[in-house]
Point group: C2
Chain length 376, copies 2
């Protein structure tokens, strides 16, 4: 089994693990990335892979013929084919797709871009759905779908560089903050489809009808009898968050209620805590619309800990229909957000664009559904 271990090490910064730790081992200082020039890691690869040329030489034919065998389609004599096949297996030849991409202009790689840190991406159940949907759309093609997220200090440029690099055919972009990425990409030649309004004209996207959904959610609270309703929004640099806030205010205004009771959250579980601020501003709070389930569930916990009964004292409704909303007591009412479907639709739109059979601009608007459970 493998070679012999040469180094033994381990580490665990004495972080709060909430228990007693035994068996600690010293940690070596982590070597850092060696750099040269302007922050670029320089690589030099030793061996180089066999090329078409090599195969051709061994098989005693020309490059063109090998290419024909590899790509199929064109007719090549049976025995030639066999000789080439043999040479290919002998050398363990794999075509260099980057070179091929240069001439075919197709890489066979699609990226799902999420301009969030990896922590957020893995913490929020929304992103797996997006990725899953994209994967589905490409499942029976031989496209490789890769996921790229941003790193803590990143601005948009690393992403843009990757997208324009020629290593991907196109991209789906999922959780963008503000129009900067879209702007950078708008005049680029890279086919992209946004999930959520990019706020830049001409850039194709699909989005949930957030405003309508937020109205439905708010109206539902009102119908159930809530009057003093507050909302926890998402980060307001995101279109979806603003739209949900808008929908909330519309519904409140229509009902002749005060729609100014809102506080900004971050779409993450922790920021559900801000419900306390709503409570400070409105001690008679009897309804909460949280812009996603993660925040809603936290808010529910906070309210319950403060002695409020849900839904008797305060009704709560979330957004996204995340599974976590079914694991709390009472179960959370919510608005569906079939992200996987959207991603798939977006991916299919991307495929159309890539196939060239393209309408100018194309935007898709998707509807949401109200799911009533115990919390309202």
């Amino acid at each position: 089994m493998g070679g012999t271990p040469l180094v033994a090490f381990a580490q665990h910064g004495n972080a709060e693990v909430g228990g007693t730790i035994y068996d600690t081992v010293a940690l070596p200082s982590a070597r850092s990335v060696r750099q040269e020039g302007s922050g670029v890691v320089r690589f030099t690869v030793g061996h180089s892979a066999p090329t078409l040329e090599d195969v051709a030489r061994i098989a005693g034919v020309s490059r063109a013929t090998v290419s024909r065998v590899v790509n199929g389609g064109t007719l090549v004599a049976a025995k030639t084919t066999e000789a080439v096949r043999e040479a290919i297996t002998q050398l363990d030849y794999h075509p260099n797709r980057a070179a091929r991409a240069l001439v075919t202009r197709r890489t066979g790689v699609i990226a799902v871009i999420v301009p969030e840190t990896d922590e957020r991406v893995f913490a929020d159940p929304y992103f797996p759905q997006v990725y899953h949907g994209a994967l589905q759309a490409f499942s029976d093609s031989d496209v490789q779908v890769v996921l790229a997220m941003s790193q803590p200090g990143d601005n948009a440029s690393r992403m843009v560089r990757y997208l324009e690099s020629g290593h991907v055919d196109g991209a789906l972009i999922a959780s963008h903050h503000g129009p900067s990425l879209a702007q950078a990409l708008a005049h680029s030649w890279q086919p992209v489809v946004f999930i959520g309004d990019p706020e830049v004209p001409g850039v194709p996207y699909i989005e949930l009808d957030n405003r309508a959904a937020a109205r439905v959610a708010t109206q539902h609270l009102i119908e159930r009898g809530s009057r003093r309703i507050g909302t926890i929004t998402g980060p307001l640099d995101m279109g979806s968050a603003r739209q949900r806030l808008e929908g909330f205010r519309e519904a409140m205004a229509e009902a002749g209620l005060d729609g100014d009771l809102y506080v900004e959250g971050g779409y993450n579980a922790q920021s559900g805590q801000v419900v306390e601020q709503l409570l400070d501003r409105a001690p008679d709070l009897d309804g909460v619309f949280a812009a996603n389930d993660l925040m809603a569930v936290t808010a529910m916990g906070v309210l319950q800990r403060l002695g409020r009964r849900v839904p008797e004292d305060v009704r709560i409704i979330g957004f996204d229909d995340a599974s976590i909303g079914r694991q709390c007591t009472p179960q959370l009412s919510t608005m569906t957000n079939p992200a996987a479907e959207h991603a798939r639709a977006a991916a299919e739109l991307l495929i159309e664009i890539l196939a060239g059979g393209l309408p100018e601009t194309r935007n898709l608007m998707a509807a949401s559904q109200l799911v009533v459970r115990g919390s309202t």
Copy 2:
């Protein structure tokens, strides 16, 4: 804000949502990926991006000079540089990295490969750590780290093809089942580092000392007084699962106890349920070593539901030190598995390999720590 929505649609297969659904909208049949030839999606891109040549023409210089300006380093006259810069911004030129990669043999892209379906990847807290660690290692270089997982029906070939495609410089491979992927890659020219023993000689990897850790865990149960101990293993086609089982049996044998009480799980929460089988086989069960925390927590729940007190009647220890183990009652004792650190170390090893300053084969073995909490 963007163009006008052209299409409105939504969908929600009437899946079990555990609530009442209002506001349903018809769903269009999802268009499927258009295919041609052997399962390959064909793309044709309309516009094409400006090239070096274009820039050179506008700036009135040669391609070589533009290249020099773009890449810096070599000396170019100040006014020439300026002219080129101007042309570049005018055309919004971005170098085609695929073309560059052809000659420099560096793409600036590193892949983290996880041969699991996306559901598993997002469900298990282990993978985010791996990705995070990899990201850290490359954080101050301008390498793009992408994540690729396999699709339900996939065999290894799509992965291998991607890795050998020339679109990535190298890869970290995280949760492989059996040696097939490693074998396919062993004679390839692609620099890869495995996290976990690939079971193929000559392929570099880093791994946790699973056997030793499992021994420590088991010994801990014995020390606390457990005698009739069972284990829930991971999928036994994975080296880590087998090693943890081995460690368990060793510790049991050393203590003169029966080490045959085990049942295979899948490293996912659901498979913690198999603890019932242990109970069937040994009603006097008083200790459980689960090969990861996900299974341990589920097992604890099952046992408690069956009236067993933890740790009074049955002691439970898990593996991985996942956060979920701190959210249950009692809190779960466990073995640490600082996956992020491992991934970072693996990434640094990969960087070394890519830099060419390479030891033949290099394997790293990492230690684990026992964390004692309430469950033992």
